[in-house]
């Protein structure tokens, strides 16, 4: 039993699986982005090379930094993501869940953002602090909409707050994305993900050329490697979450495998296209957008879900 838990946590579908898949899909992202800019893009295993290289580098802890927070933040964030990926993966691949897991995941994603904020502000660097501040505001912006859309599958699955139940309902009666409320929630969900992963147009905290990579500016070596890995793991976690909540999860019989891969790649591709065709927006525009438009729309989705549409 313990062995299985460890296996799930560290190998499949947790740390190892998510990490590797994330790095691969990260390559996909870079390659596609390069094609958008008429370039060739990096080779397939680029992200692995980057990751292992960073592991071997020196870690510089800045004098001004709060040492413990500085070190713990990326590792804790990594642990949080591993946990999320395990929970989501278990639901997706083994149809296993536990009561309230959806709420746990919700809290964990929030914890991750908090880790970024802590890590950024721990460095004592102005630019990092600006980045951390922006991350905080972005969290404020997208969190409400994110929580609201989580309600939709819960309502639609008959007030089940378990992933396995949500999947079961969808497999029985078709994915939620087929319904009006489902599609609304899915679209808002995509936007929230874009913000949570700080991809364009919401890459405000990491604005590379402006504030020199934001919260992660002062990180180097293994700690930076973990931040990068975290980033790529999110490329797995969030699309999986969307598939799980709205798109009926994965089936692993026959054509189902292909279909599963397709679903995943489709979501990621859409994310990358959004990322490459949009300029950066301002933080208050983002706040405005989420509070004024996204959240109310998400709320309409919830009402529709209650009405059963």
């Amino acid at each position: 039993m313990i062995a299985w838990i460890l296996f799930h946590l560290f190998v499949f579908p947790g740390m190892l699986f998510t990490g590797i898949l994330g790095l691969l899909i990260g390559w996909f992202d870079r390659k596609l982005s390069a094609r958008f800019q008429f370039r060739k893009g990096p080779p397939l295993f680029q992200n692995f090379n980057d990751f292992f290289k960073l592991l071997g580098k020196e870690t510089i802890i800045v004098k001004e930094a709060v040492k413990s927070v500085f070190i713990i933040a990326p590792l804790a964030a990594f642990a949080v993501l591993t946990l999320i990926s395990t929970i989501i993966g278990l639901a997706l691949f083994y149809q296993r869940g536990f009561g309230g897991d959806i709420i746990v995941v919700m809290y964990l994603t929030m914890t991750f953002s908090v880790m970024v904020i802590l890590g950024g502000s721990a460095t004592g660097n102005v630019f990092s602090s600006i980045g951390a501040g922006r991350e905080m505001k972005l969290l404020l912006a997208d969190e409400l909409a994110f929580i609201i859309i989580l309600l939709v599958p819960i309502i639609k699955s008959g007030y089940q707050i378990r992933f396995d139940q949500i999947i079961a309902v969808q497999q029985a009666s078709g994915p939620f994305i087929g319904s009006a409320s489902g599609i609304i929630a899915f679209i808002i969900g995509m936007l929230c993900i874009q913000a949570k992963m700080t991809l364009a147009p919401f890459h405000i905290p990491e604005a590379e050329t402006e504030i020199v990579e934001g919260p992660f500016m002062e990180y180097s070596g293994p700690l930076l490697a973990f931040w990068k890995l975290n980033h790529y793991m999110m490329y797995v976690i969030f699309p999986f979450l969307l598939i799980l909540l709205f798109w009926g999860g994965f089936q692993f019989q026959g054509i189902g495998i292909l279909w599963a891969v397709l679903k995943y790649v489709l979501i990621v591709t859409v994310m990358i296209i959004i990322k490459n065709t949009n300029p950066r927006i301002r933080i208050d525009t983002a706040l405005n957008f989420f509070w004024r438009y996204a959240s109310p729309v998400a709320f309409i989705g919830v009402i529709l879900a209650v009405l059963g549409v």
Partner: protein, 139 residues
């Protein structure tokens, strides 16, 4: 360290340090990133923070005002770090070596691993330098 070096060779992140150059080397470095030469193919990426760098591209004859800053930059970089000197300026002082405002030994401020001569070196020459560096790392 062979395995690690191979990883390193495939993932060189560069940071650009300019110490009183004439800009031309810098422009040619930027040219490397444009679609025409696209060094991301080789895993090379221009990063914005010196903390993320594996390679420092140094240009220019350091004048006395900027040299201490360059030393500081080097200290901020995580080791192992490679320093590639782009242009004749860094390697030989070019035509500025007689000036009163130049530091005499640039190596005192930043240990240089590789020189790419040329004024400015062609982008192809810089790519070759990278290839050499990769070759060294691969053993």
């Amino acid at each position: 360290m062979g395995w690690y070096n191979k990883r390193l060779a495939k993932s060189l992140w560069v940071f650009h340090v300019s110490g009183s150059p004439c800009n031309n080397c810098d422009i040619e470095i930027l040219d490397l990133l444009t679609p025409r030469y696209d060094i991301e193919r080789l895993g090379i990426k221009l990063v914005g923070s010196v903390r993320h760098a594996d390679v420092l591209l140094v240009t220019g004859v350091f004048n006395k005002k900027i040299a201490p800053k360059i030393k500081k930059i080097y200290e901020q970089a995580p080791k192992p770090i490679f320093v590639v000197a782009i242009g004749t300026c860094v390697s030989g002082g070019c035509c500025f070596k007689d000036s009163y405002n130049m530091v005499e030994k640039r190596e005192e401020f930043i240990p240089i691993d590789m020189y790419v001569p040329g004024c400015p070196p062609k982008p192809e020459a810089m790519i070759e330098a990278v290839a050499k560096l990769v070759g060294v790392l691969n053993g």
